[in-house]
Symmetry: C2
């Protein structure tokens, strides 16, 4: 039914409306049913204008990622051996986890047009509507000890911030460990899930969610204070395949550097883009609240926090509350 | 059919044989079929003597773990909120993983009489026949950063060595990180599988395999040089529920100590029982072979190795080859 409605709307000359009455007659369904299908199509990424007097007209179709386009954009990269491009999934993480468990090689990408149960840090839900964002997961098999896995979380944040700044005039700050913010609002989510046996890292699945072309109406109102998209920040849409390719390219460069020279260069790049450092903050850790000023990273990837008394302690895990205005949920 | 054969053998007076011919007639199956069922029962842990002239007699039934016995033995411990006691499973790790994923609380135990696909380090198979060993997995939810997970592997090895020495006169050495050896032969396997989100440890499933009452005939001949059991070492069987209770008690003590005072006391206990230290060794690491003398642990749980030139480096992951005689595959 949905595809028939789209076909009928597309048959109209440019700019012409098709009335609900005609649609109802052609499809042999009630006008309320027509209206319900239109709502559903909007949810799928079709932009449809509804006028009570004149009916409906199609303004835009959802952008779709395609394999030929992705292959073309990624042709310079030797990092990705295979891509699984899917329509709607629960979470790309679940699929990539299963593939990793079954032996998928490093660089394997799972990309979905839509996630119904996108996962953020600490089990939080992640808004991932169809056609407007990059929702993907990448299998990594780094030859590093388990102790170093948190460094990859920081590396991924650096790679994504550099990728986005390479394709658009954006000022992106990193909130520890891996939130990317524009003007204090979150534009991406990174989640690295590690699986280890004793001290050996078996694999890591890096989940990357980027709010590329979401519009303000895509967010629940209460989220608009804390979240934004590249489209809202730039005032124009970006091509999602270009965003993916830019990320893969940056990630590959930094990952190679990391394997060659260790964490030190990644740490410098992270510190340079951080908005967490040198500002008084409140850190909610599993073992209690720490008040202090983050001053840098240590060589394990922990955040070094200077306490009021001058002592500097490493914080391995925390939710950070920045002063008002620097944002971050 | 198997239970009928056992019932018939048990009906015999002490020491009396039952002929294959009688069994064949009573059960209305061929003598070859009788023989096949006897072999199967032996695989299930029944000890049956077969004499070509006189027939079969039952020498012993497999020991079975029971919930009332386990509850009684563990009644002093507040650490275990629930036990799942199973018959034959693929691997207790798989079951405990699934339960952890579904929210099982810390201390949840999965115990099986037999594993068909017992897993050891690096995907190696682990011999786990019915009724003779402790094959179990425990869910842990430690409030520690991911970086510290490998310390738990060392803690588990210390706990198990102390538990076994508490219930029997055994001299147990720990080979880095967590193999327990008696006279150079392996008597247990420990495997901690960690799952993390970024720098947060979500849960750990500790797999513990202990060769308690295995006899020499339970091992493939090529394994007898590298593996032994408590029964072989002591010359007498031990009660498996007692072994489980001793482990839980030691583990709880050390785990509490670890959360209170950190890794330092665990490190001392580990070093005191180590057979890896102060002997020239060959360490096969993911990034190449290291030759040197392990001298201790660092505060991350890495093995400190002194190289020929005197430099001391941390080794996070390695297969260690000790000089001949100190054993360990």
């Amino acid at each position: 039914m949905d595809t028939r409605i789209i076909a009928l709307l597309e048959l109209q000359e440019e700019g012409r409306y098709l009335s609900g009455e005609v649609l109802s007659r052609e499809l042999n369904i009630s006008r309320t049913a027509v209206w319900k299908h239109i709502k559903k199509l909007e949810g799928m990424g079709y932009r449809i204008e509804a006028s009570r007097r004149m009916g409906y007209r199609l303004l835009g179709k959802p952008s779709r990622l395609t394999m030929p386009d992705l292959m073309e954009k990624l042709k310079e990269s030797s990092f990705v051996p295979s891509i699984k491009l899917l329509d709607a999934v629960d979470s790309t993480q679940n699929i990539a986890q299963r593939m990793a468990e079954e032996g998928a090689p490093e660089g394997t990408l799972v990309i979905a047009e839509q996630q119904t149960k996108g996962r953020g840090r600490m089990g939080r839900h992640w808004v991932s509507p169809p056609g407007k964002g990059v929702w993907m997961s990448m299998v990594l098999r780094p030859e590093i000890p388990l102790q170093f896995a948190p460094q990859l979380t920081l590396l991924a944040a650096v790679a994504l911030s550099r990728a986005l700044m390479a394709i658009a005039p954006l000022d992106i700050g990193i909130k520890w460990p891996n939130d990317l913010l524009i003007g204090g609002k979150k534009i991406s989510g990174i989640l690295l899930e590690s699986t280890a046996e004793d001290e050996r890292l078996r694999y890591v699945v890096a989940g990357i969610g980027i709010s590329v072309n979401l519009e303000e109406t895509d967010y629940p109102p209460e989220l608009l204070e804390a979240a934004t998209s590249l489209r809202i920040a730039l005032g124009r849409p970006l091509e999602r395949s270009e965003v993916i390719a830019a990320f893969i390219s940056q990630f590959q460069q930094l990952y190679t550097l990391y394997h060659k020279e260790g964490f030190a260069p990644i740490r410098s790049l992270w510190e340079a883009r951080s908005i967490t450092l040198h500002k008084q903050a409140r850190l909610v850790t599993p073992s209690g609240v720490v008040e202090g000023t983050p001053v840098g990273l240590d060589d394990r990837g922990a955040l070094l926090v200077k306490l009021a008394g001058g002592e500097i302690i490493p914080v391995f895990s925390a939710d950070i509350k920045l002063p008002a205005g620097d944002g971050g949920a």
